[in-house]
């Protein structure tokens, strides 16, 4: 839970005085989407590796600790993808030109060229995509990132729900943490799966009931601040020359690689 809170809700890196942090969140999001589309479209592993190098360089210019960045990007999704891509290098799953053979537990397995290059391309694509998404996430304040979605003309109901939902998640995580601590302090030992399932379901039910009660309070708070059915969102984004220059650079990379 603490890892989750630290990694998701910390704006520490977004507050640093680095290159990506200085950009207008709207321009930054658009350029990162261009990079993601580029990563999706390319069939060349060399281009993917170059884009991965760009993401690492951007992290360095943005004063993100390299160890932290690599840990955030490689742990879980790329490692999981690496794990599931390994069988694909063998002829059982990807037939083709044999490269070499390996013996595992008495079984002779053939590694094929299309299998190996396909798996390498897959991993490179996944890790590069994840790196750009993580970079966008850690260098942008979260409430700004959610506000940026308005430029894509997303219906108001989604944008408003998104902003409110983000705040509720904080509250709910606090409630869950306290409940978990209370259960742990009372039970203290390992419990049987059936009992554990009942505790989880009871916690979810209790969370729903608290949320339901909260609805009325939140609505009253909204009314007292002048809510009349149409949400009003402040727009304080400002794009400077460096933002347009960065957009031009990203567009040039996009067009050149294509």
């Amino acid at each position: 839970m603490s890892f989750f809170k630290d990694s998701v809700f910390s704006d520490e890196n977004a507050s640093k005085n680095g290159f990506l942090q200085s950009l207008d969140p709207r321009i930054k999001t658009i350029t990162f989407l261009l990079f993601l589309v580029q990563i999706l479209l390319t069939r060349n592993i060399f281009i993917l590796l170059c884009l991965y190098a760009v993401s690492v360089l951007l992290a360095c210019f943005s004063k993100i600790r390299l160890g932290f960045f690599l840990k955030r990007t490689w742990v879980f999704i790329p490692l999981f993808s690496l794990f599931i891509a390994i069988p694909a290098i063998f002829s059982i799953f990807t037939p083709g030109e044999p490269l070499t053979t390996v013996k595992i537990a008495g079984l002779t397995l053939i590694i094929t060229r299309p299998g190996l290059s396909g798996a390498a391309l897959f991993i490179a694509r996944v890790v590069t995509s994840v790196s750009f998404v993580v970079l966008l996430n850690i260098t942008t304040k979260h409430f700004e990132l959610l506000k940026v979605l308005r430029i894509f003309k997303i219906p108001q109901i989604f944008v408003m729900t998104l902003g409110m939902c983000y705040r509720y998640i904080f509250l709910f995580i606090g409630i869950i943490e306290n409940t978990h601590l209370a259960v742990k302090s009372r039970v203290g030992i390992k419990i049987r799966p059936k009992k554990g399932q009942r505790i989880v379901a009871s916690n979810i039910t209790s969370l729903w009931q608290r949320s339901y009660q909260l609805n009325e309070d939140v609505y009253q708070a909204m009314l007292s601040r002048g809510y009349n059915g149409e949400p009003l969102v402040l727009n304080n984004f400002k794009a400077g020359w460096q933002d347009w220059l960065w957009l031009l650079c990203a567009l040039t990379i996009f067009i050149t690689i294509r």
């Binding site: 839970m1 990694s7 998701v8 989407l33 993601l36 990563i39 999706l40 069939r43 891509a85 799953f93 990807t94 083709g96 060229r113 299309p114 290059s117 396909g118 798996a119 391309l121 897959f122 694509r125 996944v126 590069t128 995509s129 994840v130 998404v133 993580v134 996430n137 979260h142 990132l145 959610l146 219906p155 109901i157 989604f158 408003m160 729900t161 998104l162 902003g163 939902c165 983000y166 509720y168 998640i169 709910f172 995580i173 419990i191 799966p193 554990g196 399932q197 989880v200 379901a201 979810i204 039910t205 969370l207 729903w208 339901y212 009660q213 609805n215 009325e216 939140v218 609505y219 809510y227």
Partner: protein, 243 residues
């Protein structure tokens, strides 16, 4: 079941964005039309609730744990269209802030988790609880079945989406460009783990939460939340109470 970036090719990603756009538009229109101003926070609460459900690890036999998605539960509590919006919002937050689920694969993730899962589960639940009293074991059983079937159908769609990638995108030498496994591997893999493990987690959580809600109906739940005049758009009312 969240598909990361890089697993699906551009055609599949574009196709699912195109499929989801009208669904989001209809969901937004229906919910805006039927949602009273007073229930606006409920939608955000539903989204946060569906986000948080995924953080509960449920103990399963053998000492292992798994987590539920809660899509069917949210659909039963809010109605399928409101659940579609709530789960979409939860998926946006997961993709942007947690990196769980890709941005290019966002349309496909929403199709599986915010459309297929709540709609299949919700209508199965409605069919199985036809004319059932609010406090009846049939509703608990129906919620479990709806959760199990809903998550398995969503997993089947995910498996098919993965399995189509080598067919849709490959080089002349047969090298896969995206997910490297065909339908013969991806469908059994996705279906197997959900039929054997995660489907049961979803079923247990959905059924037990409905059972607890039936027992602890302290704040008038479920009628006010799920009635036809509120967030839950199609919930059936029985004896002045609906579920």
């Amino acid at each position: 079941m969240h598909i990361p970036d890089g697993y699906l090719g551009p055609t599949t990603c574009g196709f699912f964005y195109a499929v989801m756009l009208p669904i989001w538009a209809v969901a937004s229109k229906i919910v805006k039309k039927t949602l009273k101003a007073k229930q606006v926070p409920m939608l955000a609460i539903g989204a946060a609730f569906s986000f948080v459900i995924m953080m509960f690890n449920v103990p399963i036999i053998g000492g292992s744990t798994g987590h539920a998605v809660g899509g069917v539960l949210v659909a039963i509590l809010l109605g399928p269209w409101a659940a579609c919006i709530a789960i979409t919002v939860a998926l946006v937050i997961q993709a942007l802030l947690f990196g769980d689920g890709g941005i290019t694969a966002f349309g496909a993730n929403c199709f599986n988790l915010a459309f297929i899962l709540p709609f299949v589960g919700y209508y199965i639940y409605q069919a199985l609880t036809y004319r059932a009293p609010a406090i009846s074991n049939r509703r608990v059983l129906a919620a479990g079945i709806a959760g199990y079937v809903g998550i398995n159908i969503a997993a089947l769609f995910t498996g098919v989406e993965f399995g189509l990638q080598p067919l849709l995108h490959h080089t002349a030498a047969g090298q896969a460009l995206y997910c490297p496994y065909g339908l013969n591997v991806s469908v059994p893999a996705m279906a197997g783990e959900h039929l054997l493990i995660f489907g049961w987690v979803e079923a247990i959580v959905t059924a037990l939460v409905i059972k607890f809600l039936q027992k602890q109906d302290t704040n008038g739940f479920p009628p006010k939340t799920c009635g036809n005049d509120t967030v839950g758009l199609n919930a059936e009312t029985t004896n002045g109470r609906s579920l």
